[in-house]
C-alpha cells in the first residue's frame, strides 16, 4: 500500500481499533499505545500489506498485543472483586453497559477478543479465525463460552444486588 493509502487507513480504522482496544483493556493510555503500536507496525510493512488487508492486519496486531499485555499484566480479577467495585462505584443500580464492561474484563483475553470482534466489528466466524489465528471450531467455542460467562456474571450480579 502507498503512504496515501496508509493515511486513508488511519482515517477509516483508527476509531474502530481504539474502541476495540479500549473495551479490551479498559485503560485509555494502554488502548492508545496499542493503536499507535498497531499502526506503527503497519507502517513498517507498508510496502508488504495490501490496502484491502489493512484492517485485518491492524486488528490482528492489536489482538496479539493485547493478549500479550494481559498475560504480562497478571491475574484476571476475581468475580467478587468486580462485584465489589460495581457496588462501591454506583450507589444506584449500575447500568447494563457498565456491568457488561465489567463482565468482559472477567473473560480470558482470547475470549474477550473474539466476543469484541464479533459484536463491535461484526466479523464472521471465519474472519475472526483468520484474525486471531484460531480455527473455526475454537472461535465458536470461545464465543459460546464467552456469552455464557457474561450471562452468568450478569445473573450473579442481579442476585447480589
Amino acid at each position: 500500500m502507498t503512504p496515501a493509502e496508509y493515511n486513508s487507513a488511519v482515517d477509516a480504522h483508527a476509531d474502530g481499533l481504539y474502541r476495540f482496544a479500549l473495551k479490551h483493556l479498559r485503560d485509555t493510555d494502554q488502548a492508545k499505545d496499542v493503536v499507535q503500536e498497531s499502526f506503527a507496525r503497519l507502517w513498517s510493512r507498508v510496502d508488504q500489506v495490501e490496502a484491502a488487508k489493512a484492517k485485518s492486519y491492524l486488528f490482528t496486531t492489536a489482538h496479539h498485543a493485547m493478549v500479550d499485555e494481559v498475560r504480562k499484566g497478571g491475574r484476571v480479577r476475581r468475580l467478587e472483586e468486580q462485584h465489589a467495585e460495581l457496588r462501591s462505584t454506583s450507589q444506584s443500580q449500575p447500568d447494563l453497559k457498565a456491568v457488561l464492561d465489567a463482565a468482559l474484563a472477567t473473560l480470558p483475553a482470547i475470549q474477550r477478543s473474539v466476543v469484541l470482534l464479533r459484536d463491535l466489528e461484526g466479523y464472521a466466524y471465519e474472519e475472526i479465525a483468520e484474525l486471531t489465528g484460531l480455527n473455526l471450531a475454537q472461535v465458536k467455542v470461545y464465543i459460546y463460552r464467552g456469552r455464557t460467562a457474561l450471562k452468568d456474571y450478569i445473573g450473579q450480579l442481579d442476585l447480589v444486588i
Binding site: 482515517d11 474502541r19 473495551k23 507502517w43 459484536d119 463491535l120 459460546y144 442481579d158
Partner: protein
C-alpha cells in the same frame, strides 16, 4: 474385637468380609446370622464395586453427552443456553427457532435466562480515537520525533531530509534515549560507501566511427603542422615585446627596400617620397606620430634612434646613398637592435625620381610596417595602410585564411571569447573529419 452381629451392624460385618478382614470364626458367625435372618438379601450377591461389571456407557448415554455448535437435537434445559446463543448469533435455522420458541412458551421459567443472554450482546457505540494526526505518516516525516516515528526520523536524518527544528528535536531525543542512539549508530553503518571499481573491459564497450578522409593523411598532417607552426610564429611575432625592430637609420638617399613591395605599394607606403623634400614632409604625419602599437609593444619612432645614443650632429656630407657605418657605440654583440642596411636604389627604382635624403627620411615605414601592410591587404583583405595595429585577432584570421587555402573551406581556426574579450576556447579544423576543439 467386633461387637456381636445384629441388625444394626451386619453391614459393617459384610464390608469387613468384603475387604477380607474377618477371621474364620467371624465368617461362620456372619453366615449364621444371615441364615437366621432371611429378610437380609446381602447374601444374594456381592456388593457392587468400582471396576466390576461393564464400564462402557450405554449408547444412548454416550450420544446424550455429545454437543455441537450450533446445537442440534432436542431442546432441553441443558442445551437451552446453547440454543439461545445460537439464536443470537444467527446460527439457527427456521425450524430450530420455532422449536425454541415453543420450548420457551412451555417453560416460562427460562424467561430470565433469555433476558440475561440477550443482555450480553455488546452495543457498538462510536468511540473516537483522540489524535488521528499522530498516526499519520509522511516521507520524509513531519513533526518532531517520538517513539513511533523514530525510525523514519533516523532514516530522514541519514538522507539529510530533516529541517533544523527536526534535527534539534532528534538530537535531544537521542541524547535522552540510549536505545535510540544505538539504533542511530547501527543505521549509520548501513550507508554504502562508494568504492572505486573499474570495469575491466571498458575498451570492449567502445564503438569506433568510420571516418572517410577527404584528403590523404599525409596532406592533412603537413597542413596541420604548417598551421600550427604559422600560428606559433605569428603569435610569437605579435606578442613578443622584444621582437626585432627595424630601424631606419637617418641619412640621405635611403629608400625602403625594393623587395618589400612593388612600385605601387611603395608609392602607397611612401607617400612623402614624391613630394618635396621639405622639412615639413620629413616630419611624420600626425597619424604617423602616434605609436603603431600599444605601449608594451610600442617601438621608438622611426626618426629616433633605436637605442639611446648621444646626439651628434648629422653629417653634412653629399646626399648620396650609402650604407652608414655602424655606430661603434652600439655593442655589435647585442642582437637586439638589428639594423637593416638600406639598399642602394636600383635601376627600376631609378625610374622614380630619386628622393633626396630628406625625402627618404620622411618615409616612416619600416620593414615591419611593410609586412603588416602586405598581410592586411593580401591576407586579411583590409587596406594596407590601416592604422590599427595587428593583434592576436588578426593572427587568428591569418591562420584561418591559410588553413582554408590549404584544406578548403571546411578548415580554419576560430577562437571563442567571452564578453570581456578573454579567450574561452578555440576550434582548429583541419578538414571535414579532423578538428581540435578546446574550451574552458
Amino acid at each position: 474385637m467386633k461387637k456381636r452381629i445384629d441388625h444394626s451392624n451386619y453391614e459393617a460385618w459384610l464390608l469387613d468380609r468384603l475387604e477380607g478382614r474377618l477371621s474364620s470364626e467371624q465368617e461362620r458367625e456372619l453366615e449364621a446370622f444371615l441364615l437366621a435372618n432371611p429378610d437380609i438379601h446381602a447374601a444374594e450377591g456381592p456388593l457392587p464395586a468400582v471396576g466390576m461389571g461393564d464400564d462402557r456407557l450405554a449408547r444412548f448415554d454416550r450420544e446424550g453427552l455429545k454437543r455441537a455448535l450450533p446445537p442440534q437435537g432436542v431442546i432441553d434445559a441443558d442445551s437451552l443456553d446453547d440454543y439461545l446463543i445460537a439464536r443470537m448469533e444467527g446460527d439457527l435455522g427456521a425450524r430450530q427457532i420455532e422449536e425454541l420458541e415453543r420450548f420457551l412458551a412451555v417453560h416460562p421459567q427460562h424467561a430470565a435466562n433469555v433476558r440475561l443472554l440477550a443482555a450480553t450482546k455488546l452495543a457498538a457505540e462510536p468511540v473516537a480515537f483522540p489524535s488521528h494526526a499522530s498516526l499519520k505518516r509522511a516521507l520524509p516525516p513531519v513533526g518532531t520525533v517520538n517513539v513511533h516515528t523514530l525510525p523514519d526520523h533516523l532514516v530522514a536524518r541519514l538522507e539529510g531530509d530533516l529541517d533544523a527544528q527536526q534535527e534539534r528535536a532528534l538530537a535531544a531525543y537521542l541524547h535522552q534515549h540510549t536505545d535510540a542512539r544505538a539504533d542511530w549508530d547501527a543505521l549509520q553503518r548501513t550507508k554504502v560507501v562508494a568504492e572505486a571499481i573499474a570495469f575491466p573491459h571498458k575498451d570492449s564497450l567502445k564503438r569506433a566511427l568510420k571516418v572517410i578522409p577527404l584528403f590523404p593523411r599525409a596532406v592533412v598532417r603537413w597542413a596541420s603542422a604548417a598551421a600550427v607552426l604559422a600560428l606559433v610564429l605569428l603569435a610569437w611575432w605579435f606578442r613578443s615585446p622584444e621582437r626585432p625592430q627595424v630601424a631606419q637609420a637617418p641619412g640621405p638617399g635611403l629608400n625602403p627596400p625594393a623587395a618589400i613591395a612593388d612600385q605601387d605599394d611603395r608609392a602607397d607606403l611612401t607617400p612623402a617620397v614624391e613630394g618635396s623634400a621639405s622639412e615639413e614632409h620629413r616630419q611624420p604625419a600626425p597619424d604617423q606620430q602616434r605609436p603603431m602599437f600599444p605601449d608594451p609593444l610600442r617601438r621608438a619612432p622611426l626618426n629616433e634612434p633605436v637605442r639611446e645614443v648621444p646626439h651628434e650632429p648629422a653629417p653634412q656630407e653629399a646626399p648620396m646613398a650609402h650604407v652608414p657605418e655602424p655606430d661603434e657605440r652600439i655593442d655589435p654583440l647585442d642582437p637586439e637592435p638589428v639594423l637593416v642596411a638600406q639598399a642602394t636604389p636600383t635601376a627600376a627604382q631609378g625610374q622614380q625620381p630619386v628622393a633626396s635624403g630628406a625625402a627618404a627620411n620622411a618615409d616612416p615605414r619600416s620593414l615591419g610596417d611593410a609586412l603588416a601592410g602586405v598581410l592586411r591587404e593580401r591576407v586579411l583583405d583590409r587596406p594596407a595602410d590601416e592604422q590599427r595595429a595587428l593583434d592576436a585577432t588578426d593572427a587568428v584570421a591569418a591562420v584561418d585564411r591559410g588553413l582554408k587555402a590549404v584544406a578548403g573551406e571546411r578548415a580554419g581556426l576560430s577562437v571563442q571569447r567571452d564578453d570581456q574579450g578573454r579567450q574561452r576556447g578555440f576550434s582548429l579544423r583541419l578538414g571535414r573529419n579532423l578538428a581540435f576543439t578546446a574550451s574552458r
